[in-house]
Symmetry: C2
Subunit: 201 residues, 2 copies
Amino acid sequence: MGKPVPSTGNAPSPLVVNISARHCHLTQEAVEALFGKGHQLTPMKWLYQEGQFAAEEALTLVGPRSRVISNLRILGPCRTLNQVELAYTDAIALGFDIPLRKSGNIDGTPGGMLMGPEGFFEMPDGIIRAERHVHMHPEDAAHYGVAAGDRMKLKIGGSCAVTFDEMLVRVDESFKLEVHIDTDEGNAVDLKPDTPCELVK
Amino acid sequence: MGKPVPSTGNAPSPLVVNISARHCHLTQEAVEALFGKGHQLTPMKWLYQEGQFAAEEALTLVGPRSRVISNLRILGPCRTLNQVELAYTDAIALGFDIPLRKSGNIDGTPGGMLMGPEGFFEMPDGIIRAERHVHMHPEDAAHYGVAAGDRMKLKIGGSCAVTFDEMLVRVDESFKLEVHIDTDEGNAVDLKPDTPCELVK
């Protein structure tokens, strides 16, 4: 789903817009509960952000009404908290409400039960819709004249043209310029490899 | 999901924005093939547009890979063509591509098999994503200064704020002012009864 747009003028990086399908981040403790003692996640596909990968491992999420989402992909490497990121369409299929949150901000969010081949792991919280966001290296932030926590707009063209407001700016030395929207947003706009995209203040 | 916004200034009508979940329109011939000879659709819920209703009857749609969507709602009254309107998320779940079309413009679109309690009905074509659109009475069109076939923008506020471009204007004496977006669009923007909406040229 990557859509690198050649950088223009003095922009340091091409703009990449990717759709994040539903997925989860796990602690090593949760991985071992689900896949067995000492289990390590196996990279299946490297993602655009350095060191991040889609793992071969997937799990089943059981929602509050015993409805399930199976084959939920795990992204690695392991983190210090457990977090499931769904689109609202997914959450409605599971039969519950989830809040919009910045990744990592999971206080007071709903939880669920995770099922793996070797066991269960109960998440007391951590099921969210992740806020649409753009990863930026400090050089990208300087180019666009924004800082971490700012909001930008993403203009997407084509027959289902949309402007996404409230695009959260995240800045880190380790980041490459990349916008993440979810499947509802990606399908609303029919994002294709050749869809024109522009990031504006 | 209705969201009437009080009309401002000299606007003749409040702005209503509704989400169209996946549904189908059928001919009387298809209704009889699926539900039995002489069967008439039974209104379950009247819709905002005069005379339109969600029927008690629903059916199962079988996609090209034998995946199904069950409980697909039928909207009445019957029409002169068979048309299924899905969101892209639905189409991806069924495992195929559908085109974006204005309602009624189904030439060259994919078809599928419909299953009802009394039989099957094969649609050779007619499965589309409906273009986002706004129904307008001629007085509304005059107020906004637009004509049938024009495009407007719908600005939606809130934490998932979005501007939908390419909102197709449809005008008819029988129409009441109402915007229709699909579930992908509605979930992308988290449309709630109190979400601020504005229609602009």
